[in-house]
Symmetry: C2
Subunit: 290 residues, 2 copies
C-alpha cells in the first residue's frame, strides 16, 4: 500500500480528521477543496493541493470523497472538471458521503466505463469516530475493489462491512440513520413521559442503559436530554436531510415505514422551529414546546 498515491476531496467535519488519519499512517496525500482555506491544516501536515478534481484524479491510485449530498458527489466526480476526466484505469474511488443509493449506482456505472471502480462507503460514528478511527464503514461495490483499499479503510474505521453491490452501502447507511433518529425520538418521548409523571429522567436513563432498551443513542442523546444540552453534537438538519433521502426512496419502492414517517414529521417540526443547527436531542423540546 505504501507506494499508493491517495487523493482526498472534502475536508469538512468528517473529511478532515479522516484525511489526517491517512496522512499520519504515512501515505502521500493530494487534496482538493472547494474552499481553499479548508485544505490548509492538511497542507501543514504535508499534503499537497491540486487545482481541480480532474487534476487530482490524474495523479492518484485511490480517491476518497467526503462531501454533503448526491449533487456534490456528482459534481466533483462527473462534472466539468470532475475526477472522471482524469482517473486512471484501475483507480478506485471511495465515496464516504451519505447519498442516494440510486446516485451511487449511477456514479459506479459512469466510472466503470472509464475502467475505474467506485465504492459507496458511508460511515457511522460521527466526528469522534472519524478522529479516533473507530468509524463503522458500510461498503457497496465490487469485493475485489474493496479488498484493494481495505488496508486504507482500516486506518479510518474499526468495522468495515461489505454489504453488497453498488448502492448497498448507502442502503445500510439509510437504515442506520432511520433507526438512530427513531431511537432519539423514542428517547425524547421517554424523557417527556417521565417528566409528565414528575420523575427525573436521569436515573430512568441510567436504569434503562443496563436493560433491554440500552443503546448508544440512549447513552449519548439521552445524556444530552438529561442534561438539557441541545447544542450540536449532531446538527438536526443533517438528519432531516438523510430522512428526506430515504423516505423518498421508500415511497418509490412502496416500502411502508410507519415509525420513520412519524419521526420525519417531528424533524419537520424541529426545522420549522428554526432548531436545525441544534442537536437532534432537541426533538425533546418539540414535545414540550407551548
Amino acid at each position: 500500500m505504501s507506494g499508493m498515491k491517495l487523493g482526498f476531496i472534502g475536508l469538512g467535519v468528517m473529511g478532515r480528521p479522516m484525511a489526517e488519519n491517512l496522512l499520519r499512517a504515512g501515505h502521500e496525500l493530494l487534496v482538493w477543496a472547494r474552499r481553499a482555506e479548508s485544505a490548509q491544516p492538511l497542507l501543514d501536515l504535508g499534503a499537497r493541493v491540486l487545482p481541480s478534481p480532474e487534476a487530482l484524479a490524474r495523479e492518484v491510485d485511490v480517491l476518497f470523497v467526503v462531501v454533503t449530498a448526491s449533487a456534490d458527489v456528482e459534481q466533483v466526480l462527473l462534472g466539468a472538471q470532475g475526477a472522471l476526466h482524469g482517473l486512471r484505469p484501475g483507480a478506485v474511488v471511495v465515496d464516504h458521503s451519505t447519498i442516494a443509493p440510486a446516485a451511487a449506482r449511477r456514479i459506479a456505472a459512469a466510472l466503470a466505463r472509464c475502467g475505474a471502480d467506485f465504492l459507496d462507503a458511508p460511515v457511522s460514528g460521527g466526528g469522534v469516530g472519524a478522529a479516533n478511527a473507530t468509524l463503522s464503514i458500510m461498503v457497496g461495490g465490487e469485493a475485489a475493489a474493496l479488498a484493494r483499499v481495505r488496508p486504507l479503510l482500516e486506518k479510518l474505521g474499526k468495522t468495515i462491512v461489505h454489504v453488497g453491490p453498488s448502492g448497498a452501502g448507502q442502503v445500510a447507511k439509510a437504515c442506520n440513520q432511520m433507526v438512530m433518529v427513531a431511537a432519539i425520538q423514542a428517547c425524547a418521548e421517554a424523557a417527556r413521559l417521565a417528566d409528565a409523571h414528575g420523575v427525573d429522567f436521569g436515573p430512568v436513563r441510567e436504569a434503562m442503559l443496563a436493560g433491554s432498551a440500552g443503546s448508544r443513542v440512549l447513552d449519548v442523546f439521552g445524556g444530552r436530554m438529561a442534561r438539557r444540552d441541545f447544542a450540536a453534537g449532531v446538527e438536526a438538519r443533517l438528519h432531516h436531510k438523510d430522512y428526506a433521502l430515504f423516505m423518498d426512496e421508500a415511497a418509490r419502492l412502496g416500502a411502508p415505514l410507519p415509525v420513520a414517517a412519524q419521526v420525519w414529521q417531528q424533524l419537520n417540526g424541529l426545522m420549522a422551529r428554526g432548531w436545525g443547527r441544534d442537536d437532534s436531542a432537541g426533538l425533546l423540546r418539540l414535545l414540550e414546546a407551548p
Copy 2:
C-alpha cells in the same frame, strides 16, 4: 441479611429463576403460587409452601411479588386473603411486576397504613437476565426501605437504580418498554427498507451494530429478523399489554408520544393477525404481509 425470612409470590418465567437465585444465596424462602404445581421446582430446592399470601406474610421479613398485571398484584397484596392482612410492621414488599405507576402508589399507601414498606421494582433483562442475575432493577419508594433489601436485590440483578418515590420504578419501566419496542419496530422498518432495495439485512445489521445505531434490540431482535426466527423470545402480547398501560397514562397526563402511538398501532395489527404469542420481531412480518 442471613437471618431474614423471605417470601415469594409468582413463580412464572421471571419469578422462578429469581426465587431460585435467592434460595441458592442461602436464604430461607417461603412461597405461594396460584397454581400449586408451579411451586414444585422451588420445593425441590428447599422452599416451603404456604396456603395463602396472608399466611405467607405472617412469617416473612421481605416479600417478593412477580405476577402479571396491576389487578394480580392488588389481589395477592390487598385481596381477601392478601398479604396486607398478615404483614408484620417493618416488613418490606418488593414488587417486580410491571404495573401502572398509579397502582403502585395506591398499594404503597395501603401498606404504609399497616407499617409495611412497598417498593415498586420492575425489571428489564428477560428470562435470561433473571436466570443469570443480570437484571436491571428500577426501584420506586423510600430510600431507607431499598437500603434494607439492596443486598437481596443484588442476588437478582447487576444494576439497581433508585429512580424516585413510589411509582417511579414503574415509570422507568414504562419508558424502557416504550423505547425497546419502538427500537424493535425501527429495526423491522430497516429490514423492510433493505429488502425493498434487494439488500440482505444480515450485513446491514452487522455494520449498524458497530455504529451510532448500535443497541441491544438491534443485536437480539435484529438478529431474529435477519434469521427470520419469529418464535418467542418475548411474546408480543406482553409488549402490547405494556403499551396499553402507559399510552393510557400518557393520555391522562397529556404527554404527546407520536412514535409510541404509531408503534402501538403496529402492535394492534400484530395482535389482530393472531401473532401475539410469537416474538415482537414479528413486527417485520406486518410490514411484509399481503
